[in-house]
């Protein structure tokens, strides 16, 4: 795979930073940069065939609707689900979880039920469940992780002895890079009668999301972590849940017949998509999937793994650097440097054109577990090269020298 040619498809790298440096972007786990094809698809829609979807019977509306709906098929194929009608568009992973919780979870939870999350969840996959549990007097518990940052399966089996309604788990940790064995978790949860929600926000860019194998009941991801636009994502629902659960939101486009006191709701994913959708966003998501489809799966994995291993190895050699989580990981490394706060690190990296992330990464319970207030984090995308890793290590050494 020719990384230089892939990188050249991302216009942001054609310019220098305000301080005259090459941009080294190491925060793809937060949000990925966009290739020209995604940007063109969005502006192509606005300038070429803009109209609302599912309503007008004139040509731009028809083209907009067909293009919009074709993305549903692309998503269905990309995450390997049975039918495109199980894919509902939302504004992102966080929105998907909130909507699912509000429309479905709070109606199906019973007092005393248990909801399981893991200690490595992003706040987005924790706080909405917490609120639902408070409302329904249900118990939220965390599946512990071991020293290496991996799910403790013995503890999970013990926890599942209590009546559990939902298990909600991330496929890949945004802090530790841990790749969870989702199939094993769903098998255990289903045996105990619980439904499983999978947060695929991090996993989606790794081309490893496989709903059929995982047997997830619900799954969500955001387009912006897949080189697509912000403000759009999906919620997948297994079997016929799309038609069984209450609509995620109410309004135009999701109804059959409307009276003053009663209304009927459509079948299919449109049942949940009230109001004008983020049409440009969905079309951009389609272009993002097309872009990722051009990257051979095996080489994509190899490339990200190589960068991660190289960074891990070089980081481990630096005195005073402590890496969180397992050695086997997907594209993300969180670390601390003795005596230097992560925010001070990221400021110095910024001076050299290197974007790294500092903070609690929306995972405060995990920070508490590792007893650190914050960490620095680097994460890799398809446009990163070995040179980026070397620059990162060089700047880290310089910053250490400055602070010593």
């Amino acid at each position: 795979m020719n990384i230089a040619s892939i990188k050249s498809q991302f216009p942001i790298f054609k310019q220098q930073t305000p301080l005259g440096k090459e941009l080294v972007y190491l925060d793809t786990a937060s949000s990925a940069q966009k290739p020209q094809s995604v940007i063109d698809a969005i502006s192509g829609f606005y300038s070429g065939y803009y109209a609302n979807t599912g309503r007008g019977s004139y040509w731009p509306a028809h083209k907009a609707t067909t293009t919009f709906e074709s993305v549903r098929e692309k998503v269905a194929r990309y995450i390997n689900v049975q039918s495109k009608d199980q894919v509902v568009f939302t504004s992102g992973t966080t929105d998907s979880i909130n909507k699912l919780v509000n429309a479905h979870v709070i109606h199906s939870l019973e007092s005393g039920d248990q909801v399981l999350v893991s200690e490595m969840e992003h706040h987005a996959n924790l706080v909405p469940w917490q609120e639902a549990c408070k409302l329904k007097e249900a118990n939220i518990k965390a599946i512990p992780i071991n020293e290496e940052g991996e799910i403790d399966f013995e503890a999970l089996e013990l926890l599942l002895k209590a009546k559990t309604a939902f298990v909600s788990i991330t496929a890949i940790s945004n802090v530790l890079g841990t790749v969870n064995d989702v199939s094993r978790i769903t098998a255990l949860a289903h045996k105990a009668g619980a439904k499983v929600f999978v947060d695929a926000a991090q996993a989606i860019a790794h081309k490893t999301v496989d709903v059929k194998t995982w047997k997830a009941d619900f799954l969500a991801f955001s387009a912006h972590k897949l080189y697509g636009p912000t403000g759009v994502g999906i919620l997948y629902m297994a079997d016929d849940l799309v038609n069984q659960i209450k609509p995620l939101s109410f309004g135009g486009g999701m109804i059959t017949e409307v009276g003053i006191e009663e209304s009927g709701y459509r079948k299919g994913p449109q049942r949940h998509e009230a109001g004008t959708q983020n049409i440009a966003g969905v079309i951009g998501l389609g272009a993002a999937i097309d872009f990722v489809d051009t990257l051979p799966e095996f080489e994509l994995h190899n490339h990200l793994n190589e960068l991660t291993s190289l960074a891990y190895e070089l980081l481990s050699e630096i005195q005073g650097v402590n890496i969180l989580g397992p050695e086997e990981r997907a594209g993300v490394i969180s670390f601390t440097v003795e005596g230097i706060h992560p925010h001070d690190l990221s400021t110095f990296f910024n001076e050299q054109g290197v974007c790294i992330r500092a903070g609690h990464h929306c995972a405060q319970p995990l920070m508490n577990k590792y007893k650190v207030p914050a960490t620095a984090r680097v994460s890799f995308g398809i446009y990163n090269s070995k040179e980026d890793v070397m620059t990162f290590i060089k700047v880290l050494k310089e910053t250490k020298a400055f602070f010593e």
Binding site: H341, H343, T347, E351, H360, Q364
Partner: protein, 145 residues
């Protein structure tokens, strides 16, 4: 970052961030500032005893980056022995110093190098809240006292 400010940053902010002279909690505390940035997790408490509108003593505790720690340590050191009225203009000046849109040049605001070092925050607008975290809380106190 201009070389002089960079020099001041290295000399004063790093030094101050390790200065624990006024670290702790006062037994006879009358007022307490809680400075917390939920976005990054930096968290400080400043314990003060105020009598007759004069800050008799102060201590700080907490954790965060070098800039927030140094600015909190310096704040604590500066307020001790001053009246609320005396502190008001210092707070205003400090908040202007760290603001990239501040009207005056840093050197027109303060002469003291320890304070001037925080003008580095003008170069990193995303770090302004680190420098102003505790000072914003102090402003609330002096404005309402």
């Amino acid at each position: 970052m201009n070389e002089r400010i960079k020099g001041l940053y290295q000399e004063h902010i790093l030094k101050k961030s390790k200065d624990e002279t006024f670290k702790g909690v006062l037994q006879n505390e009358t007022h307490r500032l809680e400075a917390y940035n939920p976005m990054c997790g930096d968290k400080y408490t400043i314990s003060m005893s105020i009598e007759n509108d004069v800050i008799q003593d102060a201590r700080f505790d907490g954790f965060g980056c070098a800039i927030s720690k140094a600015s909190t340590a310096l704040l604590t050191e500066i307020v001790i022995g001053k009246s609320v009225e005396e502190i008001k203009p210092i707070v205003e000046n400090f908040l202007e110093l760290v603001d990239e849109h501040g009207k005056r040049e840093p050197e027109e605001i303060f002469e003291d190098d320890q304070l001037l070092a925080f003008a580095a925050a003008r170069e990193f607008p995303e770090r302004k809240t680190c420098a102003s975290l505790s000072w914003d809380e102090l402003k609330l106190l002096v404005d309402t006292h």
